[in-house]
Assembly symmetry: C2
Homo-oligomer: 434 residues x 2
């Protein structure tokens, strides 16, 4: 019967068996101390018996051990207890030292990222790295829980598609039994069609982008949350829904995983249930007043403005999430509904200095949609679009939605420097392994 | 304020507004009856006023309506209530009849499947079709809930990989910035590496198979559940875990969605918490006794045997899920642990006449793994495998796992005839749209 590390202190005074990876070994005052790692953390073990110490000779970090011992209260040990009178059994010996640090925090400096990812399969055994991906798994759980509570149906839409849904952007192409297929950049068209079935749908799935850009920020495969909801009164409904989603999952994350976030040096979370919102023009003005830099000719927010307005909102309103409204129509795609005065029925959600999502209303009226497609040079009769326009011909309610990268959300929730640090095995123009 | 169909009977005697799609229209005894569909089902509306009836002239199924009316108790109506004194507001008019039946059950005969999928975006609005995908969404929810309860961490592994993980089988290839990439057939190597980090991991994600087979059963994109767990005593641990998972989610599905399953003509669920298990040799013998057909020379179970043994177990043991053990070593891949007497440390799970999963123990010892790779003609130093073998060199515990298709599980849970009926937008050798 195996006892796990987080359960050790419940067994003080009894003999238990723990199992895990040799994580650390040191000599102190004539005693040998080892740490064994299991799925919940570390167990500290004190070994006096020379025959037992001898079993570890030549064995390295990673060795799989089974250890029987007496549980003794020890406030300085992880979990408040440690094992004494240990009897070791070597399940799987490891004789080579790991090529990357398992016990001390790994460097995430940009010049060290290649090393981080080259040895990813081992570096993730570092407790600090593993915490990032436990948090990511929890975020996924919270998101789905919130969406189920709001009567969303989970869908799985195809990643092999005929033609690029959003046009323009770079796509991966492949030979599909003699035809050309592309890898889906997003489930945009499918999630909209599914509004016609379930009103409210979501998908969490990979999306693929063949961006010929080698900056440290571009990845060619991301995990996207996509949400779409029908019978809205306007894009404000979707904004409010996104606001509630983000507020709920982030406050829950900080409440349930405060210790892990602290140890990862995540910033304090500063959020109000309602996020402040300004138009682009207002943000330009506030920024100019605050910094003296004239940005009135910019169509979009500059990266520095995005940072500045989040800081400003944090100081003035106690909220580091901000909506930017009054976006220019020119940025919108054919499936977006046009607004008044050349502004889009849409808003950007900024969080901790960066845009993490856009919340537009879609064009749901068949004639207008077909007109906008043609104006954008998209053929409504093309194989990739025929079913899509047919859904509108046969009745679609007013609807809107949003998507955001789970990678990006994890990065910003923890306060990491690079989105790749929040991806288990990142893919970019130079990296297809491990 | 919108009232949803499932909430109508809570508002008897009051005036409410419902919104949805015109689903059916008929004249009966001088009155006009319409059904309006929303995300929970249908609302029956009685229209007397000629001006209101006139608003519907020329409008077809799919028209988006907003209807204000008085809620009257009516046991014969869906939800036990209907709307009277209706005032209609046409939100989005539809003037063309749908090309596929929305109101009556659609034919799933194999000769009609092409029509079903050609108009999928509309056919899914049929309530019977939609139920299949609500059930699918629920199965996903139950699976994750069971896995979270058992301390599994959700992972997202790359679908763009260097080389085919499992060798042999057909893969989709694509140009990846001048290099060759393949689409992942499974997360096999990644989930095993992640056992070294979290012990227990799962992923639900698309998997791609370029099988040059045009049978009605083959699809080129599936949604797979993949599970892997460490520190097992043997493959029996994994068998028991899969058994508990399948028992839990199916009994929960039948308990919570009995009505939907019944209306889809799903068979009764016949399961015991422990599934009967027999060796292949025993099944061959039982089958021969039962049918008179000699299968003693078959290496594997024949399709007819798979059906027969599930029926046999259902009759004799009250359980239509069966484990087949004692599988031949020859079927195993390089990452499987060899068993004794040429039988694999593995079992097949059969349910309702078909194999839905295989539960093997993996080879976790570095030297043995490398040896098995070489014997299988797989280069341990190749880019797609170097990280994998490194994880074993630095210590992996005894582990095992399984995967199964969410599509296949949904098909068998409901008792559909073809796996494609359980996929929103299926992909096969002839189909890349919608």
């Amino acid at each position: 019967m195996r006892t796990l590390s987080n359960d050790l202190s419940a067994h003080i005074g009894t003999t238990v068996t723990i199992q895990g990876w040799l994580h650390k070994k040191r000599l102190l005052g004539g005693l040998t101390f080892i740490n064994v790692r299991d799925r919940h953390g570390l167990v500290q073990i004190v070994i006096k018996d020379k025959d037992e110490v001898e079993k570890l000779r030549g064995l390295q970090i990673g060795t799989i051990l089974s250890v029987e011992g007496l549980v003794i209260e020890e406030p300085r040990a992880p979990g408040g207890a440690e094992l004494h009178d240990a009897k070791l059994s070597v399940e799987v010996p490891v004789t080579e030292e790991p090529p990357i640090e398992i016990d001390k925090p790994l460097s995430h400096k940009s010049e060290n990222l290649d090393t981080l990812f080259d040895y990813r399969q081992l570096g993730l055994r570092n407790l600090q790295e593993a915490k990032i991906f436990k948090i990511r798994s929890e975020l996924l759980r919270y998101i789905r829980s919130f969406l189920y509570d709001n009567e969303f149906v989970e869908i799985n839409t195809p990643k092999l598609v005929a033609g690029a849904a959003e046009g323009g952007a770079e796509v991966f192409k492949l030979d599909y039994f003699g035809k050309e297929a592309t890898l889906a950049q997003s489930p945009q068209l499918y999630k909209q069609m599914m509004v016609g079935v379930f009103e409210r749908v979501f998908e969490i799935a990979p999306a693929f982008r063949a961006e010929l850009s080698a900056t440290t920020r571009h990845v060619s495969e991301v995990t996207m949350l996509d949400v779409e909801m029908g019978f809205i009164d306007g894009h404000n409904d979707v904004m409010n829904f996104l606001q509630d989603l983000v507020y709920t999952i982030l406050t829950r994350l900080y409440a349930e995983h405060g210790d892990a976030l602290k140890s990862l040096q995540a910033p304090e979370l500063t959020l109000t249930p309602e996020f402040p919102h300004w138009t682009m023009a207002e943000i330009h003005e506030l920024y100019q007043k605050g910094t003296g830099t004239d940005v009135s000719k910019e169509i979009d927010l500059t990266p520095d403005e995005e940072k500045w307005i989040c800081e400003y909102a944090k100081k003035k309103h106690g909220c580091e999430a901000v909506f930017a409204t009054g976006l220019p129509q020119s940025k919108m795609k054919f499936y977006h509904m046009k607004g008044e005065n050349d502004t889009a029925r849409s808003a950007d959600l900024l969080f901790r200095g960066i845009e993490i999502s856009t919340v537009p209303q879609r064009e749901h009226r068949y004639e207008q949609l077909v007109e906008q497609m043609k104006a954008a040079g998209v053929d409504p009769e093309a194989p990739g679009f025929a079913a899509y326009v047919s859904a509108f011909k046969h009745g679609m309610p007013a609807h809107g939605g949003f998507g955001f990268g789970i990678d990006r959300l994890t990065e910003k929730a923890i306060g990491l420097a690079n989105v790749k640090e929040a991806i288990l095995f990142p893919r970019d123009i130079n990296r297809l392994t491990p």
